[in-house]
């Protein structure tokens, strides 16, 4: 009972700290559980749904004319393969949604209702799955919800495919949306469309008749399943498929389940990783705030605790009471945070459905969330107990004599006080005298600025138009690209580009699929290989040299100087690796060779894409629009962009706003907790200042300036930390997504901006928190 009485009294006396710490823990818990659950649910659900729609451990997209029976026989000869299933599809090179041209990739049309291949159809509001969905009538299609974010598609809109150029098209109406775990994300170029059985047959016939395989093709997907007891990694199985079968010669591309999941969940994974780091930073900040609060409380309650010791309370009793007070505050934040996290998860899943293309489950992942909460609780408990150990230093006799000596020792480092800017000079003096009290505020500012600065650095690397990010996906930088079969037209487009803009660099580029040491992946071919984004080593100058990405180097266990075997169109050729280059395409699984190197495989003249780097990249959009208008029907014109870019840019902006809001809340709580303790301690001095003629406004300014100065110092430290740690930290994370070279810069403006935001918030909130000064009257000095 004695504990309960003390506990109640302590909480009542320090309800501000109690509420503040509870609020911080609420934010941390709700964010952490949401991030963990979304990440885990997305991963599990994606895997489950890939299996539901019939995708194998490895899926190969075959070209027209492949002998499926023979290939299946060859594949089944591999010991680790259990079964192979064929899924018929029609590939479409160009399609339009509601008049918008489909960006960056083809569409694969599957027959809805085909035996063995089922799909979840969403209700009209895309909030759930239809239990008994309607079948497709002739002329109707189901599409991914990603079409909503990509093309603003709605039910009833037109979906048009080109069978053989603009003149030969087939038009359908969007009947609704379905869940596509294989390509539903707006991040992916390829898109799946479900079509009526009769339409599929008609389309197949028209495609066959047109025979323009570069525009539309009747083909199949081969879903390859490993045996249940197989321990062969999917990468190795993929290599064996390349080495032991004829698949290479008939493949558009081939992806493992892990790769598809990587593509589909790239956005969730990047942002989950990012937010997880942010939550860790917030947890550290909370620990700093709790630490300061405990130290101040012990100082504040020194006399009371001494008296309690004098009447028989042990150090353990007092430590227990103090610790429980903070543990309770932590729990009061964590429990509602955990309870409400489900709502937040549902909201996020609902808001991101058009980007992810899937309605992810919103149920909390109890084992992971429970473990995360348990770890945090144990960590905080240990920290709180360690901080309350200071109670041991309290002796009854010292407490009865007036408590902890409130002595300012003259420091060697001191500041002078001038008449001009008196409030500022007094603030500086207060800081120098009581530096320990402000360390926590400085640490909070440094950590927050560090993280904001880190985010802004990543944002500036991505670039306002996403160019930085796109360059990491491209083998070489470029602004405009075009490709066409007609040599005359090619020359005309080249002339137009050179006439309309100043071109710094131009080169020919082509991406084909090949195997490297049996590993099937894209092969980037460039006429000027010196423009590959080299990370290590040198470019592939000669025809027997090539470059690999970090990811490929690890996947096939090779390095610079090693010899590899490249198979392409049934021909094998050895190459020496001269360097590592950066290209995140296909999650970094690709390699690059020179045009001369590629010509060793291909003797027939083949048209290449032409890439241009403009002196003034701002001309890109206008020039692309002009080229599309003039040559769009006869040539492929593109700028260095990607279907998922918009989503990433939007998410990045949302993340920045979210972080500023959370930062503001954390600063508010940290300033309130730190400030109120300092104010309590200094109310006597405030009374003196008032008796001398200082106004409350001047004292508040002086008080707020202390926090401002601390925040500015913290901001400088945060920016330095960010400068030192952003590249290694972010680089490590992005490596998981195939981006091996990350170099960020931050303009002076943004450095100042993030520091100014944090310092400004400290100034404003501490000024508000110092409102209590108005209530301090000089009467406090009166002894009756």
């Amino acid at each position: 009972m004695k504990y309960v009485t003390l506990l109640k009294a302590n909480i009542k006396a320090q309800k501000g700290s109690f509420i503040g710490i509870g609020a911080l823990m609420f934010i941390i818990t709700i964010s952490l559980l949401a991030v963990l659950t979304i990440w885990k649910n997305a991963t599990d659900y994606e895997e489950e749904q890939l299996a539901y729609i019939g995708y194998g451990d490895i899926t190969c997209w075959l070209t027209w004319g492949a002998d499926v029976k023979e290939l299946t026989r060859q594949i089944l000869e591999i010991e680790d393969v259990d079964k192979v299933e064929e899924q018929k599809a029609i590939y479409i090179g160009k399609y339009y949604v509601n008049g918008h041209e489909g960006v960056n990739g083809m569409a694969q049309l599957f027959t809805y209702g085909e035996e063995g291949y089922d799909f979840h159809i969403y209700n009209q509001s895309i909030t759930g799955i239809e239990e008994d969905p309607e079948g497709l009538s002739e002329g109707e299609v189901y599409v991914s919800p990603a079409f909503c974010s990509l093309y603003d598609a709605q039910i009833g809109d037109e979906f048009l495919v080109e069978i053989a150029g603009e003149e030969d098209t087939a038009s359908y109406t969007i009947k609704g949306f379905f869940e596509d775990p294989s390509a539903g994300s707006s991040m992916m170029g390829i898109k799946t469309i479900l079509i009526n059985r009769i339409d599929a047959q008609k389309l197949k016939e028209r495609v066959e008749e047109a025979g323009q395989w570069d525009k539309a093709m009747n083909a199949s997907l081969l879903h390859i399943f490993r045996t249940k007891d197989s321990t062969l990694p999917l990468g190795k199985l993929q290599t064996q498929l390349g080495e032991r079968t004829d698949l290479t010669g008939y493949m558009e591309f081939c992806y493992s389940k892990v790769s598809i999941m990587g593509f589909m969940l790239v956005l969730q994974n990047i942002f989950a990783g990012f937010l997880l780091v942010f939550v860790v930073v917030l947890l550290v900040i909370t620990m700093v705030v709790i630490g300061h609060s405990i130290s101040s409380s012990i100082e504040q309650d020194y006399v009371n605790m001494g008296i309690l010791k004098a009447v028989g309370f042990t150090q353990g009793n007092l430590m227990w009471t103090q610790s429980m007070q903070y543990v309770l505050a932590v729990l009061c934040g964590m429990i509602p945070g955990a309870l409400l996290s489900g709502m937040l998860i549902r909201l996020i899943n609902r808001l991101t459905v058009t980007a992810t293309g899937m309605i992810m489950p919103s149920d909390l992942d109890l084992p992971i969330c429970g473990a995360a909460m348990g770890i945090i609780l144990i960590l905080l408990l240990g920290f709180i107990v360690a901080k309350t150990a200071g109670i041991g230093k309290i002796t009854p006799i010292r407490a009865i004599r007036g408590g902890a000596p409130d002595v300012y020792f003259k420091s060697r480092f001191t500041t002078r006080i001038y008449q001009k800017g008196l409030a500022f000079h007094l603030a500086l003096r207060a800081l120098v005298s009581g530096k320990k009290q402000y360390i926590s505020a400085g640490a909070v500012a440094a950590l927050l600025v560090f993280f904001i600065s880190l985010t802004v650095r990543i944002g500036s690397w991505i670039g306002p138009d996403g160019k930085g990010l796109m360059n990491s996906f491209a083998a070489g930088d470029y602004d405009i690209g075009f490709g066409c079969e007609d040599k005359e037209l090619e020359k005309e487009i080249q002339e137009t580009i050179n006439r309309k803009a100043k071109v710094i660099v131009s080169y020919e580029f082509k991406m084909e699929r090949a195997t490297i040491n049996g590993f099937e992946c894209p092969m980037n071919i460039m006429s000027k290989p010196e423009y590959f984004n080299i990370v290590e080593g040198r470019s592939c100058k000669y025809e027997n040299e090539l470059l690999v990405t970090d990811v490929i180097a690890q996947a096939i266990e090779v390095g610079i100087g090693d010899t590899v075997l490249v198979s392409y169109k049934g021909r094998d050729k050895e190459f020496i690796i001269t360097g590592i280059y950066q290209c995140a395409n296909d999650m970094g699984e690709n390699f690059g060779i020179s045009k001369e190197g590629w010509e060793g495989f291909e003797s027939e003249p083949v048209s290449f894409y032409h890439h241009y780097v403009l002196e003034d990249p701002s001309q890109t959009k206008e020039l692309v629009a002009l080229l599309k208008e003039e040559y769009g029907d006869r040539a492929d014109i593109d700028e260095n962009t990607w279907s998922g870019l918009e989503s990433i840019l939007t998410a990045m902006q949302a993340l920045e706003i979210f972080m500023y809001v959370i930062t503001a809340i954390f600063i508010l709580v940290a300033v309130y907790l730190t400030g109120s303790k300092i104010l309590y301690k200094e109310q006597h001095d405030m009374g003196i200042y008032k008796s001398l003629g200082f106004t409350a406004g001047k004292l508040r300014t002086c008080f707020a300036l202390r926090f401002f100065v601390v925040a500015v110092a913290g901001s400088v430290l945060g920016n330095i930390l960010s400068g030192l740690l952003t590249d290694p930290l972010t680089g490590t994370m992005l490596k998981m997504f195939g981006i091996s070279s990350f170099e960020s810069t931050l303009s002076l403006f943004y450095m100042i901006f993030s520091g100014a935001v944090v310092s400004g918030l400290f100034l404003a909130f501490s000024y508000i928190a110092a409102g209590k000064i108005k209530k301090v009257e000089p009467e406090i000095l009166i002894v009756e």
Binding site: Q419, L422, R429, D685, K690, S691, L692, E777, L781, I782
Partner: protein, 255 residues
């Protein structure tokens, strides 16, 4: 004999506190005038309302009712900025405890107060702060923090601080209450010296040794001024006789 000039005037001054459902009148309709050049001392038993009267007169505390005027201007009802300016420019305070800002040296404590006034520039403030601390015999300790000096040194620095802006009125609330005998004597000598040079002083005390420094004594009982006595300026050789005189007066007040 020249007529005394009123520097401060209180009319119908009341200060009440709610107490067990009733009202406790600490100051009860006080009418009072303080004259220019006086060293006025307020005495009375504990709880008579001495300090309350001092702080009500100085604007440090707001009376429940009544009006206080200083040099023709009303103090009661002034806005925060105006009362702050009055404290900075016109009033000096010496408390029972020195009440120095703990993270400023003695010199800085005096100087910061000087900076609040518009009377002097920075350089002049510094010179005057040094001079005052010299006069208070604390120049050797002026670069120390309050926690590093004796109670007497701190209190003398507090008087220097109170004097930095040449206040029209110096309010002192039991300024020797926390000092030993030697320091008490020094502080009282300083206050007497200041008054001799024309400084108006209004002091609350219990201490006979402090009371004899007064030129005018007021006796407070149950929130009312019930007695008054005037004396000539203090002279050290007359200390004993003044003490007897004050004792007799206080006896008549049933102290």
């Amino acid at each position: 004999m020249t007529e005394k000039v009123i520097i401060m005037k209180a009319s119908g001054l009341c200060k009440s506190f709610a107490n067990n459902g009733g009202q406790n009148h600490v100051l009860d309709m006080i009418d009072l005038e303080i004259y220019d050049g006086d060293f006025t001392v307020i005495m009375g038993a504990s709880g008579a309302g001495k300090s309350t009267l001092l702080y009500a007169l100085s604007g440090m505390d707001q009376p429940t009712s009544g009006v206080v005027c200083y040099k023709e201007g009303k103090i009661s009802g002034l806005k925060e900025k105006e009362i702050a300016a009055l404290r900075a420019e016109e009033f000096g305070f010496v408390f029972q405890q020195a009440h120095l800002i703990s993270n400023l040296t003695l010199f800085e404590n005096v100087m910061v107060t000087g900076y609040l006034s518009k009377k002097r520039k920075e350089k002049e403030v510094k010179e005057r702060a040094k001079e005052l601390l010299g006069r208070m015999h604390v120049e050797k300790a002026m670069d120390r923090l309050p926690s590093q000096v004796s109670g007497g040194e701190a209190q003398r620095a507090a008087i220097a601080r109170a004097m930095i802006n040449e206040p029209g009125m110096l309010f002192a609330d039991e300024p020797t209450g926390a000092l030993n005998k030697r320091n008490t004597q020094e502080v009282l000598d300083l206050l007497t010296g200041l008054n001799e040079k024309g400084q108006n002083i209004l002091m609350v005390t219990h201490d006979m040794k402090a009371a004899i420094r007064a030129t005018r004594l007021l006796y407070l009982e149950d929130g009312r001024v019930v007695g008054e006595m005037t004396m000539p300026a203090y002279r050290k050789e007359e200390a004993r006789s003044r003490e007897k005189q004050v004792e007799a007066w206080l006896s008549s007040m049933e102290w």
